[in-house]
Symmetry: C2
Subunit: 340 residues, 2 copies
DNA sequence: CGAATTTATGGAAACGTTTCCATGATATTA
DNA sequence: TAATATCATGGAAACGTTTCCATAAATTCG
């Protein structure tokens, strides 16, 4: 074994195979115009030398990178992790690489940051849960750069995006509680600057209205998706003069906090208070009692968005579409009829 | 605004600034040999055109990519997320990009996969929790390719690696429980094929021995880091004829399962049974009762490993070092003296 | 069997940078 | 002031590919 076999290029392969370097390239790209025996000989040399094409040179020549950029707000939550997983597996199918960017990296000039990746760093961009998308939307549009939004509520102008039926999911969950016989249902919101939080609240309200129930603003607590918000929210709700018999938290983490709050008041779940969440994180099934919730197809969101982006990369003129994946009500042990 | 300003290259900048393209390059790279006024003029044009250097061309010329590859087993757990966060922020400081790879992407020829990234795709590699590292260790070494292992117990040959003091952490936790007066302490292991699990078990055993306690194999339950393992393990331990008064789970997730198991038996925590975990995931502090645990500096691990890799990238001949970051015992409400 | 057509291959240009070398201009020194 | 050192800049080569064009060989067909 040689000590430094790092410098094996296409020309070295050509030399050893006794052909022109153009021919080697043709072999690599499965060009039809290569004699079978030549192809075989070249492939043998490639194998022997362990040659692998330099991506930079290839990218420079082809004007593309075979890399897709993914911009995420953070990495802590498994929520993002699951979406990333879906993206990753779909990219792998298409032999594309994933370059990861986090929003907080460039707090000042996010727009300039995006501009730089647009210029030859990646071939397309997936924006997960973008917060101030308006800042760089212009840059992307101007460069005609392929991108897709994940879990972001459009801001008027139609953008390619993938989301879930937040409103419908919240509606179903509320409807389910109402069907059990609950009439006072508390609601803990997510971060209200996010479209998905607003939609969930809207779904909750719609279901109540559909059942002819009056508005009860005291039953809505504004949270921010953190477990402690769930605890605080449920505490506030349960300490009301006329406390709710069921609590709907806008995500599972807050539902867990709500469970803690109920328990610390000596309330049994679900006999004395029902609790339902949103997301269906892996832990939801493992809690005691296991948590009823609204499942979001996170991984599938990643996959779908990636497929959409790939379509855009092939054909940039393609019509911008907004895809809404269905949520699903998962009934477990944390919900029951009141006084059950 | 032009319709397609995508093609602004260094030569266009040079033309508009009335200089040779070499001069523009010098400006870009802060070469000292440029007259201040020329520099200013060129910068103005760069600004105006919104020029940004093509990474591929730059990489091709410089024989490097300014991209660091990170190979992770999966993305679901927040454990990986925190390490990634540390890596990411340290890379950002050094203006490097992060390319993410997941192990399961290439189930068959992992080694060939690594070989390909070694060839010009990235400048260095961070391997998080690698499972069958031996397969491609050879490739990396042969190419003299810079890499650093994160949370992997060396397999004999000395490799640059960053880990935590698993043994010491487990020792401290056990010692703490012993100090409270506990004498029967149950232990739930992690996945025993991982070095860190073995080290934690070892720390537990050492502490018991240091206190002159006899071996009690029935108090050790083999788990696999999942919450359900914690539930099953704690159930088994608590159903022993002589159940332990404290349970030490090898991670927080299993500790949560153990808490559920204790509660479902009507046991109060910590009065009737103490429970302690490992990791200090964000949720640990929010549980009721809040979970005592051994904190791992995950983010710092990512940072430290990145720094180590950067050193190796600068100077490939650097001595392989193994860095162990200290764990820290976090006492919360889930542990107390027996019968307290 | 010669002309036309297809096919395999060699050679060269191009992608957008960086860096080396050369050159002319300016500053320094004897 | 002449010789020399310093400096800014232009020009060109090189990085490793892909692809176009040309050419030579092989095949088809009248």
């Amino acid at each position: 074994m040689k000590t430094s076999p790092s410098k094996i290029t296409i020309v070295e392969v050509a030399r050893q195979a006794g052909v022109a370097l153009g021919t080697v390239s043709r072999v690599l790209n499965n060009d039809a115009h290569v004699a079978p025996e030549t192809r075989e000989r070249v492939n043998a040399v490639i194998q022997e030398l362990g040659y692998v094409a330099n991506r930079q040179a290839r990218g420079l020549r082809n004007m593309k990178t075979n890399v897709v950029g993914v911009l995420v707000p953070d990495l802590a939550s498994s929520y993002i992790g699951q979406i990333l997983h879906g993206i990753d597996s779909e990219l792998a199918l298409n032999r594309l690489e994933l370059m990861l960017f986090t929003t907080h990296r460039a707090p000042v000039k996010e727009a300039a940051y995006v501009a730089s990746m647009v210029q030859g760093m990646v071939d397309g961009l997936l924006l997960v849960l973008p917060r101030n998308f308006e800042d760089y939307m212009g840059t992307l549009a101007r460069h005609n750069f392929p991108f897709t939004l994940i879990d972001h509520q459009g801001t008027g102008s139609p953008c390619p995006a993938v989301g879930t039926t937040n409103r419908q999911g919240a509606y179903s969950a509320t409807e389910y509680l109402l069907g059990l016989g609950h009439r006072r249902i508390g609601f803990i919101t997510g971060s209200m600057e996010l479209g998905c939080s607003q939609e969930r609240l809207d779904g909750y309200h719609s279901a109540l209205r559909a059942f002819g129930l009056p508005d009860a603003p005291e039953l809505v607590y504004e949270g921010d998706f953190r477990q402690t918000d769930g605890y605080a929210g449920a505490s506030a709700l349960l300490d009301l003069p006329e406390p709710p018999g069921a609590i709907f938290a806008s995500n599972d983490l807050m539902a867990m906090g709500a469970m803690d709050a109920a328990r610390s008041r000596g309330l049994r779940i679900p006999e004395q208070v029902s609790i339902i969440g949103f997301d269906d994180i892996p832990q939801a099934a493992m809690l005691r009692p296991s948590l009823s919730t609204v499942q979001q197809p996170l991984e599938e969101m990643g996959r779908a968005a990636t497929r959409m982006l790939l379509g855009l990369m092939k054909n940039p003129q393609e019509q911008a579409a907004r895809l809404e994946l269905p949520t699903r009500l998962i009934v477990r042990d944390s919900t029951a009829a009141p006084g059950g």
